[in-house]
Amino acid sequence: MAQRASTASKKSAQVSAEIIKDLHERMVRIRLFETEAGKLMEAGRLPGFLHLYVGQEAVAAGVMSALRDDDQITSTHRGHGHAVAKGVGFREMYAELYGRVTGACLGRGGSMHINDLTRGMLGANGIVGAGVPIAVGAAFAARYKGEDSVAVTFFGDGATNIGAFHEGANMAAILGLPVVFVCENNGYAEFTPQSGHMLLTDVADRAAAYGMPSVIVDGMDAVAVHRAAAEAVERARTGAGPMMIEAKTYRYFDHQGVKGLRHPYRSDEEVAEWKSRDPIDLIEARAVADGTATRPELDDVWRRTRDEIAEAIAYAEASPLPDPADLLLNVYSG
């Protein structure tokens, strides 16, 4: 039913140098954004919760590199990676994490509600599965208006057990809407392994319940993800309807925050094994091997990004707090 990973990744050989570099840069941007956010949180400088994306970078980078600016995405509680990859600026993202009025939500939303309508980022979401039908609605609007943009909805393995996912998938299928369903299967829903929340090995097999094609990709291989996404997006854009991509991936940090020492829900070996296939290491090795980029070029991406992040954090810290007098701002329109 679902194409196997091998099938999809075989084609991963044939992408341009430009795309490889693009994928690399998106991933580095996510990695550094998240690592710094984690440090700030551990230093007690950020309020609220952080669900960090480190480890899963290839998915956001691979999918977003296949999208246009006017394509829409809906995201999850673990949304920073999607936002960064979709082009949301570091400044407004950090400022939001700091609760500053210059933030992406004017300090009102925090980590779980980061959005940027100018970038087609229709928001992270604190409710598991809730973004799925919203993406279906965005795709509906595109078709209704005669535009050819598509909508992509990201969700975890755990999220496929909630009703909104099921309803949204069936709705997209029966209406034949341009939606790409991207399951980031990191093997866990919080602290429950996939085997504890569903009997299937491959979430992609759920697509058949909606008459939707699906593909499984190596979620640590940004190129493989990019190719699968490009295909699914092309299908959707040309009116062939929705499709599901399952990307097998892993999160390095805890469900929330950076380190989780409380409950050994996964082994050190498991973590180490996944890290040995780090998505950024993989693409760098490949880029250097095939001459797409030199080591110094790659290092430069890290350096530039680090500088940009340092600047953005300084900007956030220097930004004013919201004024409590404006508590009722934006509750209603008009």
Binding site: Q72, T74, G103, A104, C105, L106, G107, R108, G109, H113, N115, D116, L117, L122, G123, N125, G126, I127, A130, V132, P133, I134, A135, V136, G137, A138, A139, F140, A141, A142, Y144, K145, A151, G163, A164, H166, E167, G168, N170, M171, I174, L175, L329, N330, V331, Y332, S333, G334
Partner: protein, 337 residues
Amino acid sequence: MTTTTEAPAVATRKLTYVKAFNEGLAQAMREDDNVFVAGEDVAGYGGVFRMFDNLLDEFGPRRMIDTPISEAALVGLGVGAAARGLRPVVDLMFMDFIGVCLDQIVNQAAKMKYMFGGALSVPLTITTASGAGLGAAAQHSQSLEAWLAHVPGLKVVMPCDAYTAKGLTVSAIRDDNPVVVMLNKVLLGSTGEVPEEIYGIPLGRAHTARQGSDVTVIALGRMVGEALAAADELSAEGVEIEVIDPRTVQPLDTETMFASVRRTHRVLVVHEAVTFGGLGAEIAAQIQDAVFDYLDAPVLRIGAPFSPVPFSPVLEKAYVPDRARIAQGCRRLLERS
């Protein structure tokens, strides 16, 4: 787009409540191509209450969408489409079904603008049929406006007759916020004068349906008609009651209520929902706070007893407030000095 055309003064013909709704919706669809309707059996069948009769013929399948039984996805579809600039009208058939999709209404539609720092609007209209009286029992008869009115970001309207069914629906669709239009099932076939042209009734403004000097009765939805009937009965006894129809329960026009109570000194609030935690509580709390010194008696609330809606008509009749209970409440208020 939050301007509302004020209603024309002269009505020209009688229409049923459901046809008035339907006409308002159709005119709003003609006015703005961004308006579409989605729901279960709204297109081909025209809605189980005939709310959407003939709309498929006029607007076609692009704008009239039949969906699977998936209310969470249905409302979500509306949220996403509204976020992208359309003005969806999403139908929930029975209000009792909001339990399966409240997250999309409350955590998504209502909060999105706020959480996103004002980056967008969610001009979503949700239509639904509420209320008891058809022997539809506990899961098909509820009036749950108190839940929705407690949610910042939502607006809620409760048309009491054909005229308001049309005008409030038009305003709901034109409004840039998520608005829930609670039609009343028992009123669907009731008739009233309705202007032919499109008109909006301003949201958040109460209407004094009858003037009187002795008691103010604030009535929601179908209870407006019951209150007017009670008023006739009381008038024969020499008691003149003023009947206020809030029309919109969120935002709530309390100023009109306060002004009335300052004149009558006595007030009764009546709704179909169970009394405990119903909107009568909010209205009573605000009135006693704002015009305490004008009150000659405590604010009296009439609502359903604290039980699910019973099936048997003999019980259902005893359950739902009516003109007799309203009249009796007014008399009790007047006995109190």
